[in-house]
């Protein structure tokens, strides 16, 4: 090694032609020495010592006044090297800035480089750089300008942007393309950091978009994508420009350099399409996308909405097929990824590639394997669930190296199991319990805590049939007892907790199992070293439930003695409980009634029963309770000078006591008091992220619970109908075609085909059938647990199927399709975050904000109101109705409770030949209601489902009727505009499922409500809030009292509450829904209004400031 270094060192002078001979030798030898030293070292410790020595010597030289700039530059390179190795050289930061300030071009460049590597946006030293940047931006030397622009886009303090903004703006007109390009990117960076500041230069961006240099145009697309995402309406006029650009790109008008494998600038094409999807109609996009179909198919995930067009879909399915089959592994990966997106809506497409998918499952590359599993996950249905889960479980142990994938995957599996909750999806009880056991023991402690909780909830709540529940629990008990008799030491803690809860709760079901035996098994767990104290408390809890006289006494007694004096207070508490309850049978029966899992626990979260105690203590002179943040705030205030505007002007009478009174009892953390009771908490289940409660039960014991279409009135009745499950159809079909396709295949190939047939069963298409060749016997192998009931019912169903008349087959198909649609919609929920990010591009920060939809209720209005439309319906083009008429019609469908409220205009969200989907919003006192209208334009029944964040139940809409869904919206994280994104999936009887994406945009102001507070309360709140922003706004000065006028405008437009106006100052309060307050303090200052916003919610002040600015500008 050192040989090589030596050789290179001697060769170096030839490479470095810039420096003069003398300096070169000294400088290279110093860096060279350092590097040589490092390469010769053997241990980390020695390296540390060497670098420390190096840093000390750099420090000395750097601070010496005699060091020339050139030497400084060389020192900086060495400091950069040390920093890269992870050793801090903070002493050199200031010198890096100095070098950038004073050096000539070459040195300056190193200085800037060092600054951008050492510092970050919020570093205070960065302020020192502002002047240098200003100077360099004005320089006539192009290189200096370039360097300044680069450093500005890497990091710049937010507050100082106004100082350099005009200079950067100027650069948009610079004759050199490279400067224009960099200036555009720098402005994009500014836009990301502080959108308000860059608002006024939108026109100049347009110029950049039309720039003759394609590089500048490309750079400006970043900005446009971002801005259009936030406000699609504002840029409609640019649509044609984007289309023209795209056409030019596709037409090969760009220089050849932009080609990638002879496709002209594919990334640019995608970027343009993405923009178009936001700002123009989907039909235009479809036509444009047809131009660049090759790119589209490869990057399907960027522009998913387009996948609903059959023409594009099939064209691109072909391309995707080529990629999937490609021998180049990178292309295969991308093909699989694209396929994963497509099968969400069109599961049948997977059928064409089943053999490839099977091969990918055994691929040596874990990433390919993972992607394949994800693909399989998307096509899971009743028939293949067991095979797919089996495959996933096989894969799980490999994932320990990739922890995060593992967690996700475990969740996926569990989602599959739970989302088809009635576990009719799972072949039977034993399979379900055993799979869960495997998931627990493999996924172990890496899985989210709510998975075991949901599992226990499922067990305790049970399903429709009491007998089945009993069997399930019984089987769980049996299997867990045998696990404990084996080697419980190997099981993860979470699983042990689940086991002990189940045994405690249900082991009485197994009569021949003596409580003492279970107690002994549990006691064994307590003795193991590896058992955590949390698990121990679960075990003790279980023992408490089990200790019932007889033989168990000795065991419990022993345990109580051991843990009665434990240092862990929770354990001691549990041990005490165990001791007392084991002696007092009567009390035990009252405290822990058997089989009472279903009764809700009442938890007094306000701890009101302690009120007496608290008031007594207060009377006795105890200090009132203060929440931790309040205590901290006070501490901080005691230390620092009060600079708050209300520190002085407020009456001091507002004592801290009054605040405390308001807050104390309710703010006490309930969870901490109950942490030991976690087994019980699982009953509440309210906080589980899986949110099973909202999911509609569509699966019953007998299969899919179809809804009877609403007859006359708007009542739906759920009737478990004896419909055949689609599997039988598939099997029936296969048995028919069996004789036709006897394909002799070699052995390994055959195995794969068997696997394929069991994986792709139920996707319902002829092509699957021929692969299923010798179905019956072979599928049994993979579904060995599926015996008894299923197969026998299958046989009977086959008969009934063959006898069935046409209407029943129609039902059949409907059922089949619904099944598919359910899968996809579930996916839409589970992967919503993911997909939205994928499609949103770089702008997640300002993009779609999390909107929580709570509660949905649906109503179907009877079609009589639309009857007079019947004439129009006969018309071949009913969707060309004048909008106004439609609006009027829809308005009559507003739910009665909203009749008094004013609603926004009804805006169409997406329209196609079959469905017309529009929505409006209404402001209610404490929520925002979103009302969606679905108008069925076709003379057929259609069932549909809308999924945003939560699913609405499947609904059916008659022809030419309007169905109304309503949601209540709240904002989780404020942003300037709030966008609701969702999918409406629908299908007709005997038709394929379709889905339409929609998004509905709301300004933040719709969520703002006035907040009525007194000045005193305002003062108290002001101090508590930590997020703030300040800005100067223009004043409305046409009247006598500019302040009052301005505040009135804001009050009117943004629904703010003006608390008080005192002289030159005014205070205003409002709240975001869900009681998130925001306070505003305004002061007249030199003809402008300085506004200071404060709120406990991050981003809220910034967003509100934006709207205030807009409101005043529009005035």
């Amino acid at each position: 090694m050192s040989d090589v270094v030596e050789k290179t060192l001697t060769a170096l002078p030839g490479l470095l032609s810039l420096d003069s001979q003398s300096t070169k030798l000294s400088s290279t030898s110093k860096l060279g020495n350092l590097i040589r030293g490092i390469t010769e070292l053997t241990s980390k410790h020695e390296e540390e010592k060497l670098i420390q020595r190096e840093l000390t010597s750099i420090k000395e030289q750097v601070s010496s006044p005699n060091t020339s700039m050139r030497q400084m530059k060389e020192l900086m390179v060495r400091a950069i090297y040390c920093e890269m190795l992870g050793y801090e050289a903070s002493f050199s930061y200031i010198h890096a800035i100095k070098l950038a300030q004073q050096g000539t071009a070459l040195e300056k460049r190193v200085g800037y480089l060092a600054v951008s590597l050492f510092l970050n946006e919020s570093h205070e030293l960065l302020l020192l750089l502002v002047n240098t940047v200003l100077k360099d931006l004005q320089s006539t030397n192009l290189i200096e300008v370039c360097m300044a622009l680069t450093v500005v886009s890497q990091m710049f303090p937010k507050d100082m942007i106004p100082a350099i903004l005009p200079l950067v703006e100027e650069k948009l007109n610079h004759p050199k393309e490279i400067i224009r390009r960099k200036a555009v990117l720098a402005l994009y960076k500014f836009y990301l950091i502080a959108p308000n500041q860059v608002q006024h230069i939108h026109n100049k961006f347009r110029k950049a978009l039309c720039d003759k240099d394609p590089g500048v145009m490309t750079a400006s697309l970043h900005i446009y994508l971002q801005m259009i995402q936030e406000n699609p309406e504002g840029y409609k006029d640019l649509t044609t420009s984007f289309v023209t650009i795209l056409k030019q790109v596709v037409g090969g008008k760009l220089p050849m350099d932009f080609n990638y494998h002879s496709v002209p600038a594919p990334w640019l094409q995608i970027q343009l399409l993405r923009i178009l999807l936001f700002c123009s109609t989907i039909f235009l996009c479809r036509d444009v996308a047809a131009l660049c179909i090759h790119c589209v198919s490869l990057f399907f995930y960027c522009i998913q909405p387009l996948s609903s067009f059959p023409a594009i879909l099939y064209e691109s399915a072909k391309c995707i097929g080529n990629f999937v089959l490609s021998l180049k592994i990178n292309l295969k990966y991308l093909g699989l990824k694209a396929l994963t997106y497509v099968v969400q809506q069109h599961p049948k497409l997977a059928l064409q590639h089943q053999m490839t998918i099977i091969e990918c499952l055994d691929h040596p590359d874990l990433i390919i394997k993972r992607e394949t599993l994800e693909l399989l996950f998307r096509i899971t249905n009743a028939q293949n669930v067991s095979v797919i889960v089996e495959k996933m479980l096989e894969f799980l142990p490999f994932l320990k190296i990739m922890l995060c994938c593992c967690i996700i995957y475990t969740l996926f599996i569990v989602l599959i199991l739970f989302s088809y909750e009635e576990y009719t999806y799972a072949p039977d009880n034993e399979w379900f319990i055993e799979t869960m056991s495997t998931v627990f023991s493999v996924g172990g402690d890496m899985m989210q805590p709510d998975i075991p909780n949901s599992f226990l909830k499922l067990l305790s709540e049970g399903f429709d049939s009491v007998e089945e529940d009993r069997k399930l629990r019984l089987f769980a008990v049996d299997s867990y007892v045998s696990l404990l008799q084996g080697e419980p030491g190997k099981l993860p803690q979470r699983f042990l907790q689940v086991i002990s809860w189940v045994l405690g709760e249900y082991s009485y079901l197994r009569e021949e199992l003596e409580a003492a035996t279970v107690l002994r098994l549990l006691a064994k767990l307590l003795d193991m070293k590896s058992t955590s104290s949390e698990t121990k408390s679960w075990v003790l809890m279980a023992m408490t439930k089990l200790c019932e006289g007889g033989a168990g006494v000795s065991v419990t007694q022993e345990v109580c003695e051991t843990y009665g004096s434990s240092l862990d207070t929770v354990l001691r508490q549990r041990a005490q409980e165990l001791q007392h309850l084991s002696q007092d049978c009567e009390l035990r029966a009252r405290v822990l009634p058997r089989g009472a899992g279903l009764e809700p626990l009442e938890v007094d979260s306000s701890l009101s029963f302690l009120d007496g105690f608290v008031s007594e203590a207060l009377a006795a002179g105890a200090a009132p309770y203060k929440a931790p943040h309040q205590r901290q705030e006070e501490l901080a205030q005691a230390k620092a000078l009060s600079l708050e505007p209300y520190g002085l002007s407020l009456p001091i009478s507002m004592s801290s006591c009054s605040i405390a009174d308001r807050q104390s009892p309710t703010l006490l953390s309930v969870s901490s008091g109950l942490s030991g009771d976690s087994p019980d908490l699982s009953h509440k289940g309210g906080s589980t992220t899986l949110k099973l409660d909202g999911v509609k039960r569509v699966w019953g014991r007998e299969g899919y619970l179809s809804e009877r279409e609403p007859v006359e009135e708007s009542a739906h009745v759920e009737v478990p109908s004896p419909l055949q499950s689609p599997s039988q159809q598939g099997e029936a079909d296969s048995s028919q075609s069996q004789t036709l396709t006897p394909i002799p295949t070699p052995q390994p190939e055959q195995e794969k085909q068997q696997l394929a047939s069991s994986l792709f069963v139920g996707l319902g298409s002829q092509s699957s059938v021929c692969l299923m060749g010798k179905s019956e016997s072979t599928t049994q192998r993979f579904r060995r647990k599926a015996k008894g009931t299923v197969s026998s019912s299958g046989a009977s169903e086959q008969i009934s199927n063959s006898l069935a008349s046409t209407p029943s087959t129609a039902n059949h198909l409907l059922c089949n399709n619904l099944l598919d649609s359910n899968i996809t919609s579930d996916l839409a929920v589970s992967s919503l975050e993911q997909t939205s990010q994928l499609s949103q591009g770089p702008a997640a920060a300002n993009g779609i904000c999390d909107v929580e939809l709570t509660g949905s209720d649906m109503s179907e209005t009877s079609p009589t109101l639309i009857r007079d439309n019947g004439v129009v319906a006969a018309d071949p083009a009913p969707h060309e109705d004048p909008d106004k008429l439609k609006d009027l019609c829809l308005r009559t469908h507003l739910p009665a409770e909203f009749s008094g409220l004013c609603h926004s205009e009804i805006t169409p969200l997406c329209t196609n030949q079959t469905l017309d989907f529009s929505a409006c919003h209404l402001q209610k006192e404490d929520s925002l209601a979103l009302v969606a209208f679905i108008y069925n334009c076709i003379l057929m029944f259609c069932s549909f489902q809308v999924s945003c964040v939560c699913d609405s139940p499947v609904q059916e809409a008659r022809s030419h009727s309007v169905a109304v869904c309503q949601y209540s919206l709240t904002v989780k994280r404020p942003s300037v505009h709030v966008e609701v994104v969702g999918t409406a999936s629908y299908q007709f009887p005997a038709g394929t499922p379709h889905s339409a994406q929609f998004s509905y945009k709301l300004p933040l102001t719709s969520f703002i409500r006035p907040l009525t507070v007194s000045t005193e309360e305002y003062g108290a709140m002001w101090l508590d809030f930590s997020h703030d922003t300040k800005q100067k706004l223009t004043l409305i000065s046409d009247g006598q009292e500019p302040l009052t006028d301005t505040l009135n405008v804001l009050k009117k437009k943004l629904q703010l509450h003006v608390v008080e106006i005192i002289g030159m100052e005014g205070i205003v309060a409002c709240r975001l829904l869900r009681d998130q307050p925001c306070l505003m303090h305004c002061r007249l200052h030199a003809g402008t209004l300085s506004v200071w916003l404060r709120s406990p919610v991050p981003d809220l002040p910034d967003c509100l400031m934006y709207h205030c600015q807009r409101a005043l500008q529009e005035h």
Partner: protein, 155 residues
């Protein structure tokens, strides 16, 4: 957007690290180590894409890497960048280095960290891809070198 660009050798020694998002000094080192662990385990004949490590943001981010002789070039990007595009960018980067250094090797990267950074700055600016055309990049780098050289001569 590109979140980070890392170059390290087969032993995990960092040769260049550039983060376009702020992380603490310690986290940066951990990210380098974690990335090395993820990337170095992979065979030669597998695909060049990976999910990001826990530290840099988990599965929302992807690592796109190429392995050249003794060096790994790793780009960490979010979902808005296309995998193939970045893979191509890495190729352009390496070819540019090869042009600028004439048969680039690991030692060039060690001794001329600043130059490598300068070339990179012409390709990626603040996390956004600025230029993908090698000739353009080389023209820029050359013109800067020329100007500096003249400055050195006159100054």
């Amino acid at each position: 957007m590109i979140k980070a660009i890392l170059i390290f050798n087969n032993h995990g020694k960092p040769r260049l690290s550039k983060f376009y998002e702020h992380y603490s000094e310690d986290t940066e080192q951990q990210i380098i180590r974690e990335t090395f662990h993820l990337v170095s385990k992979r065979d030669e004949n597998v695909c060049n894409f990976l999910e990001g490590g826990m530290l840099i943001g988990g599965s929302d981010y992807r690592l796109i890497y190429r392995h050249y002789a003794t060096l790994y070039f790793v780009f960490c990007v979010d979902s808005s960048e296309s995998e193939l595009g970045i893979l191509d960018l890495i190729q352009v980067f390496v070819e540019t280095l090869d042009k600028c250094f004439e048969n680039v090797c690991e030692l060039d990267l060690i001794f001329h960290v600043d130059k490598v950074h300068n070339i990179l700055a012409e390709m990626v600016m603040g996390g956004m891809v600025l230029e993908t055309n090698m000739n353009e990049i080389i023209t820029q780098v050359d013109s800067q070198n020329k100007m500096e050289k003249s400055e050195v001569l006159t100054g």
